[in-house]
Symmetry: C2
Subunit: 264 residues, 2 copies
């Protein structure tokens, strides 16, 4: 099994999905075989990359025809992960989410070892991929715990704003608990700044603050992802920004991030 990177932060809207989609594409472009796993009931990675989106193949009564087709069935109904993976191109594949994930905690909440279901699912595809990226929902609930328990490392997107900074200590506490009880090998790949606006004095202050606070304890990636209108445009065009506008500064930033992550 290669690297499994959970992209997590309970702070909403910091760019977990955007990081999963674009880092995934950039790693694939560097020759890595990449699997994206969408663990968010909002299905945003699936909406962006799965042809036809989360509702593709929905048959009568709303039940998906390709019922074997999402991470929900793999977690809650014993379907093998290999049977839900959709190949997007030569080196990029996706295990899509569905809205049913909203009910997964109720469904598997009392299952013994419920925190380790994803870890065991990933064994099934271990040989097929070099890197697995897990897009987490904005919470520290069962789905994120499953991701942390299955991961070799966690990557934390943040914005340079106090709210996303405040939540960092809560997230790191949870990572510590998961490492102690469920996954001793879990390490923190690092924190990556997203939506950075270098003309904002406030953001510069927070960037300095992050450098000081993390110094010596956790890695802060050198690559900073800029705020760029191309990001929502690319998502609208159902593409990563790395494919949508490869020469743009934000695409270049993701390629640099892939380089940094590649050497991790």
């Amino acid at each position: 099994m290669g690297r499994v990177i959970a992209i997590a932060n309970q702070k909403g809207g910091v760019g977990k999905t955007t990081t999963a989609v674009n880092l995934g594409a950039a790693l694939a472009d560097r020759g890595q075989r990449v699997l994206l796993v969408d663990l968010d009931p909002q299905c945003n990675t699936t909406l962006t990359l799965l042809p036809g989106g989360p509702d593709a193949g929905r048959g009568d009564g709303g039940r998906s025809i390709a019922r074997a087709g999402t991470i929900y069935e793999a977690l809650a109904e014993g379907v093998a992960l290999r049977d839900v993976v959709v190949r997007l191109d030569e080196r990029l594949a996706l295990a899509p989410a569905s809205r049913d994930l909203l009910g997964v905690e109720r469904r598997i909440g009392d299952e013994p070892g419920r925190d380790l279901l994803l870890r065991d699912l990933l064994v099934d595809v271990g040989e097929d991929f070099d890197v697995v990226l897990l897009d987490c929902p904005p919470s520290l609930g069962l789905l994120t715990v499953n991701a942390l328990a299955a991961a070799t490392e966690v990557l934390v997107p943040v914005e340079c704003q106090e709210y996303s900074y405040f939540g960092l200590s809560q997230l790191l506490d949870t990572v510590g608990v998961v490492r102690k009880r469920l996954n001793t090998a879990l390490r923190i790949a690092g924190v990556v700044v997203n939506r950075y606006d270098r003309t904002s004095p406030l953001q510069r202050q927070w960037l300095d603050h992050l450098h000081r606070e993390l110094a010596g304890q956790h890695h802060l990636f050198g690559t900073i992802i800029p705020q760029s209108r191309r990001v929502p445009r690319a998502a609208q065009a159902r593409q990563s920004v790395v494919r949508y506008d490869p020469a743009s500064s934000v695409a270049t930033a993701y390629k640099n991030l892939a380089l940094e992550v590649g050497h991790g």
Copy 2:
């Protein structure tokens, strides 16, 4: 009991906290007695408005000295809501959150009527406030369900981007279920566009799309909240933007929203 407005959207980062803080201040400035309730374990409303933030009064061992002091104790330990409310100024008060909320689902998950705990807590302060605003976390779990069950109406901040649009139908489904089973009076006050950048063609397209999709079914507030650097600056200064820079276009937008909500 006056109006209880749940500010909810499971999409992360759309501006639930920013709306709670600023709409609250604008309603108070119009003479309404306002209670803000922070239901998010991230404590962002509390971080912004409580003097000293969520960790204020933390004694030895991290347990808060003013233990009666947060919504966690009210929900999970039977403390009366009146004993956790902090008066911020003449017409604005806050029931602060604490990080302990992270464990509240485990703590009260098996309590009979667990979805209605907040509704019953609010009865205690019903006579003291004209409007209660509930800042929800980015999920549709127990805390948000408690908010919807306690609310007279729900206000949904969205950004003009596909991800936040896609989640709208999931949220409205949940509202429908809560209305049927827990709170027949729950109505949708409306959807409010936040972080709007009128120079972005993509956002204009989504605004048009929202108008068309919601037409005749749900109310879309006429007031649109612009993207503005003053918002994170005000939060940094521990103030609402309505107090921080009252003449700014974003402060004016919140005053207009308060007018619209006031006539709701």
